[in-house]
């Protein structure tokens, strides 16, 4: 049957339970596997990356499937999805796949189709000139930057996501289309530390962050919030009950305790944190998820704050480039960014990347002690001489 076109379709608001279907779950995956994938499921013998963004997977049976991986803005329109469908219908028998990192994968079974597909994809551009389907994102390069909603569709962001990702991805475009790095580099972006994107184990993580404590909307807080929940929401116990001069229930905040996590705002809409001057971007680096060679690790804060300089975030872009270029020039083959930083020492990382080291980068939250150096094994950099001078140890 066709999709309905009446205003409320076949739904009857007087009788919402009528014919209701629930708990279906997702569509089953098998029907969406192209035939070559169905035939060779579990039989793949090996793969090769033929060129950036183009892979061939070879089955034990000898069958091959060629994949072309394209970057995409994860925020897209039905117009774009329809164009993806046109391509999939033309070359891929109507099948297409998306990756965890918001790339699009088109699969074909022959080299002739592969060449035609690549040519077609490369030729498609938006009227403003940007590529619709840039090919890349494989091997030792920068894959698509995963991100969150930002100003497009969220109530808690400390920055915008789509614009920052576009700005950074424009600048890193050749790393997406190439495989010149020592290992893969995963760049991720989250617009507040709720981190829908869980970026905390990325080679480079961009994180929106507030720097001003919440403002209290005394007039409405007792009507729109469960005050005890708002108080309990604060991980550092900075919020306590209070009364307004006219006797209304409200809260007070020990501002010097605030670590700007925003959890109170998540729980209570009368405690907004967002602020043009306060909000900005924190950069973390050196995390990874793979168990390859070294264990998975968290990203570390390497730039405490940069301004929200919309729409192109030049300071953020420059910092990312500095880190990436220092890594590209100095790391060993197979060495992830965090492994490189650990091998040379974080003191050398700051020197090589030409990033200032400030007190903000020394942990003073819980378990901070685990991150402090308790040995005489370190390397001398200018930063070490600065301290030695300040201590009167040298001239």
């Amino acid at each position: 049957m066709a999709l309905s076109q009446e205003r409320l379709g076949k739904y009857d608001p007087q009788n919402p339970q009528k014919d209701r279907i629930t708990d279906l779950g997702p569509r089953h995956f098998w029907q969406y596997f192209p035939p070559v994938i169905q035939r060779n499921y579990g039989k793949w013998a090996y793969h090769d990356i033929l060129e950036p963004g183009v892979m061939v997977h070879v089955s034990e049976s000898g069958e091959k499937v060629y994949t072309v991986r394209c970057g995409a803005a994860r925020f897209m329109t039905v117009e774009h999805v329809r164009e993806i469908c046109d391509i999939a219908d033309k070359y891929c028998d109507g099948y297409v796949r998306f990756t965890t990192r918001n790339n699009i994968e088109f699969m074909v079974e022959s080299e002739e189709k592969l060449e035609a597909l690549k040519k077609d994809l490369a030729s498609r551009k938006f009227v403003s000139g940007s590529y619709k389907f840039p090919i890349g994102g494989t091997g030792a390069g920068v894959s698509n930057i995963v991100h969150t909603q930002g100003y497009i569709h969220c109530h808690t962001p400390a920055t915008d996501a789509s614009s920052m990702v576009k700005a950074v991805a424009d600048e890193l475009f050749d790393y997406f289309r190439g495989m010149t790095l020592p290992a893969k580099v995963r760049v991720s972006m989250a617009c507040c530390l709720n981190m829908c994107g869980a970026v905390h184990c990325s080679d480079i993580a961009l994180l929106g962050y507030h720097r001003k404590p919440p403002i209290i909307d005394h007039d409405i807080i007792s009507q729109v919030c469960e005050i005890p929940l708002a108080i309990a929401a604060c991980p550092v116990g900075a919020i306590s009950p209070d009364k307004t001069p006219d006797g209304k229930k409200t809260v007070k905040i020990k501002q010097e305790r605030c670590m700007f996590c925003g959890n109170c705002y998540t729980m209570c809409q009368a405690l907004p944190l967002a602020d043009k001057e306060g909000d900005g971007v924190t950069i973390l680096a050196g995390g990874k998820i793979s168990n390859r060679i070294s264990e998975p690790k968290f990203s570390k804060v390497v730039v405490p704050w940069l301004p929200n300089n919309f729409p192109r975030f030049p300071e953020v872009v420059q910092a990312v480039k500095k880190i990436l270029e220092a890594y590209a020039a100095n790391a060993n083959k197979y060495e992830r960014l965090g492994d490189w930083a650990e091998r040379i020492g974080w003191e050398k990382f700051f020197e090589k990347c030409d990033l200032p080291f400030t007190e903000h980068l020394i942990d003073d939250y819980r378990l901070a002690y685990d991150t402090w150096r308790t040995s005489t094994q370190f390397k001398f950099t200018d930063k070490a001489w600065e301290v030695s001078k300040a201590a009167g140890g040298i001239d």
Binding site: Q5, R20, I21, T22, L24, P26, R27, F29, W30, Q31, Y32, Y41, G42, A45, H47, I49, P52, T67, A73, R74, M76, T77, E79, C85, Y95, V96, T100, M107, V127, P134, G139, A140, G150, Y151, I152, H153, H155, S162, S163, K166, D170, F173, M179, L181, A190, L193, M195, C196, A198, H200, C201, P235, G262, D275, K276, E277, N291, R292, F310, P311
Partner: protein, 472 residues
């Protein structure tokens, strides 16, 4: 080999379901698009049309123009939604603050998740997006589609919503961005009845599980990631749609320790494919790699000249367990010492393969920083066979949930609860013996919480008895 859905699924045929005619789908020209100006002045947003990376702004403008040119009765929410959304984005740049209100409780009848309320806080400027709610649509495992399904979804979403979406959200769902309260139920009705497709999770629910590409197109996959993902998603539909948990709960399924869906960083329960027998070696292929006949690491490094492949330097010396050696040109692996990091297999995929006796390692407790800092999952079950109907896995899941629902505080993730009670308590709850594999190092302090029953004679002692031996 083939997998079947639990209930038969009808085939989705776009030609039967479609709303828009071909003429309507091609209702603007390239020239019109070049000339097109939206109703708001958005210089900073338009700046993002430049540059080589796909521009979400250029894309959004296409949809804006399409909506301008559709007939009045060919869409059920305001035609200006895309233009107003872009206008509000410009205002957010100007103000350095978002203009979406805090939450708002909307949903579909009987579900406590899948819909997120969204309202503009400047409706007088952007009236069409006064209410602009999100729907999460549960993606098929590992995100393969056919165009009949996608085109049908596009028609539905353009007709009853904004035509804006995410492919995909961070957790894995298709995110439909922006519709009115009125259209939520009709969209849900069409999704379930015509597309046989359900919503995903949000709020204090099981969130939509996700998995890597697995055996569909990866030689490293140790388990049927899609099948396990589908089974857990459908088996726990009640938990996914009706909030009964202290907070969100995520399952993610990786086929091998490379971890392409990042389960170890993002999932309250991470399933990672692994093996317990020996890495399979094809010595002829090893020799071919050594002779430079096959490119290492499947060609991942071919963008730069790294010199001739050196198996000693690039594989054997980088092995974290130092369990490999070359013996007369033969590669030897001491599998007893192997930690299954995947490096050697990644570098020489034609020569080395994971073992054949496969299953999952289960780790628990990962989460993003809110509230008390980010956590990665902790290794709990070293190895578990993962075969349909996955009863062993479900039994483990339910033990964990039972404890978390009993003891977890409001908005306390599993990882935080385990920290609060301690890993030993968690092991007691799930009925597992402790093992050194669960820790990086044994404890460095002697503050052991001995229980009374651990100590002969118990804790009840008589001070007089003590004083009989020790004067004050």
């Amino acid at each position: 080999m083939a997998f079947e859905p639990k209930e038969p699924q009808k085939e989705i045929k776009y030609q039967e379901l479609r709303i828009y005619s071909d003429e309507e789908l091609n209702n603007y020209t390239e020239e019109e698009l070049k000339q097109f100006k939206i109703k708001h002045d958005i210089p900073d947003v338009e700046e993002l049309e430049k540059g080589p990376w796909p521009s979400f702004v250029a894309d959004a403008k296409r949809e804006a123009l399409r909506r301008r040119k559709l007939a009045d009765d060919r869409m059920l929410i305001d035609r200006d939604v895309v233009e107003d959304m872009l206008g509000q984005l410009q205002l957010s740049f100007d103000d350095g603050e978002t203009h979406w209100k805090h939450g708002g409780i909307v949903g579909v009848f009987g579900y406590g998740g899948g819909v997120i309320g969204r309202y503009s806080d400047v409706p007088e400027k952007f009236p069409s997006i006064t209410a602009f709610h999100t729907l999460r649509v549960n993606q098929p495992a590992s995100k393969f589609y056919n165009t009949d399904f996608l085109r049908s979804l596009c028609d539905l979403w353009e007709y009853r919503g904004s035509g804006l979406l995410n492919m995909h959200g961070s957790t894995g769902d298709i995110i439909l961005l922006g519709t009115t309260t009125e259209q939520l139920e009709p969209i849900f009705y069409e999704l379930t009845h015509e597309l046989q497709q359900d919503l995903g999770g949000s709020g204090s629910n099981l969130r939509t599980p996700s998995c890597c590409i697995g055996k569909a197109r990866c030689e490293f996959a140790c388990i049927d990631t899609q099948d396990l993902c589908y089974e857990l998603t459908t088996y726990y539909q009640d938990e996914l749609h009706r909030p009964a948990f202290p907070y969100k709960f995520k399952f993610k399924i990786d086929g091998c320790p490379n971890g392409c869906v990042a389960s170890i960083a993002r999932a309250d329960m991470s399933f990672i494919g692994t093996w317990r027998d020996e890495i399979r070696i094809d010595q002829e292929a090893v020799k071919a790699y050594m002779a430079g006949e096959i490119e290492p690491n499947a060609g991942a490094h071919k963008g730069r000249d790294w010199g001739k492949f050196d198996i000693q330097k690039e594989v054997i010396d980088l092995c974290p367990a130092q369990c490999m050696e070359l013996d007369n040109g033969e590669l030897k692996i001491n599998n007893q010492e192997c930690v299954r990091c995947m490096h050697c297999i990644n570098v020489m995929p034609r020569a080395l393969k994971p073992g054949k006796d496969t299953g999952v390692t289960i780790l628990c407790g990962a989460k993003a920083p809110i509230l008390e800092g980010a956590q990665m999952s902790t290794m709990i079950v070293p190895f578990m066979k993962a075969e349909p109907p996955y009863d062993n896995i479900k039994e483990f899941i339910e033990k964990v949930w039972e404890w978390w629902m009993e003891e977890g505080k409001n908005r306390e993730r599993l990882g935080e609860l385990i920290q609060r009670f301690g890993l030993p308590k968690f092991l007691e709850v799930v009925g597992l013996p402790p093992a050194p594999q669960m820790v990086k190092i044994p404890r460095e302090n002697p503050y052991i919480f001995w229980k009374e029953e651990d100590v002969p004679g118990g804790w009840d002692r008589d001070i007089k008895d003590y004083r009989a031996r020790h004067k004050r």
